[in-house]
């Protein structure tokens, strides 16, 4: 999607290893989010950020940490990956004045933990 890039697009990693996913935006939006998507669960919010160095937990934050040192970048880290974290991860952004659900999503990162 225009203005928001996720990297990598695909990753396979071993159980117990650290993994960092990156979300980069060029829209200068204040708010950024990380979701995971699993069959039967739809999208679930992991963490979100409402500004540089300002982050908070979402619905399924256990096992994940985030950092936002610049407006344009929001990193999601799995400190010690587990098989239950195999999922598709989506980053989303929204503007300064939030509209209800007015997100722009990235194309996703497919993570497989073996």
């Amino acid at each position: 999607d225009a203005g928001i890039t996720q990297s990598p697009r695909h990753k396979v990693t071993e159980t117990g290893t650290p993994v960092t996913l990156r979300c980069h935006q060029t829209e200068n939006h204040r708010y950024m989010y990380w979701y995971r998507q699993d069959p039967g669960h739809g999208l679930r919010l992991i963490h979100y950020s409402y500004g540089v160095k300002d982050t908070d937990k979402g619905e399924v934050s256990d096992g994940y940490s985030v950092s936002r040192s610049k407006t344009e970048d929001f990193l999601l880290t799995l400190e010690s990956a587990t098989s239950s974290q195999t999922s598709v991860y989506f980053c989303a952004i929204s503007p300064l004045l939030p509209r209800a659900g007015g997100y722009t999503f990235g194309s996703g990162t497919r993570l497989t933990v073996v």
């Binding site: 999208l43 919010l45 979100y48 409402y50 989303a92």
Partner: protein
């Protein structure tokens, strides 16, 4: 946290109008209703948003009854390319981080 209930799947044929209904019985006064579309291997894409009555844009209409406990997304004359998962979200302008996506409705459009 206002949760939503949608049908798991729907089938339709090209050229037909499709209506997908979402139930949100515990919607709050400040909550808006938003619909997203998701194609395989892509992130969800915003379709339409409303608060009450009817909203129409170039791709869809959203009907919201007076009690706001449900809403209906209407897609006119669907094509094969409308085959996707459709999500209904309910949330406040100022608690956007609390939105619940649910599992969505898988719309299958047949030729």
């Amino acid at each position: 946290l206002a949760k939503t209930t949608q049908p798991i799947s729907m089938d339709s044929y090209e050229g037909q109008e499709v209506n997908i209904t979402c139930s949100h019985n515990n919607i709050a006064t400040n909550d808006y209703i938003t619909w997203y579309q998701q194609f395989p291997s892509q992130g969800p894409r915003f379709i339409i948003q409303g608060y009450k009555t009817k909203v129409t844009n170039e791709v869809a209409s959203l009907f919201i009854p007076a009690d706001r406990k449900s809403s209906t997304l209407s897609l006119p004359r669907v094509s094969l390319s409308d085959t996707a998962v459709y999500y209904c979200l309910v949330g406040s302008l100022y608690n956007f981080n609390k939105f619940y996506f649910g599992s969505g409705t898988k719309l299958n459009v047949k030729p």
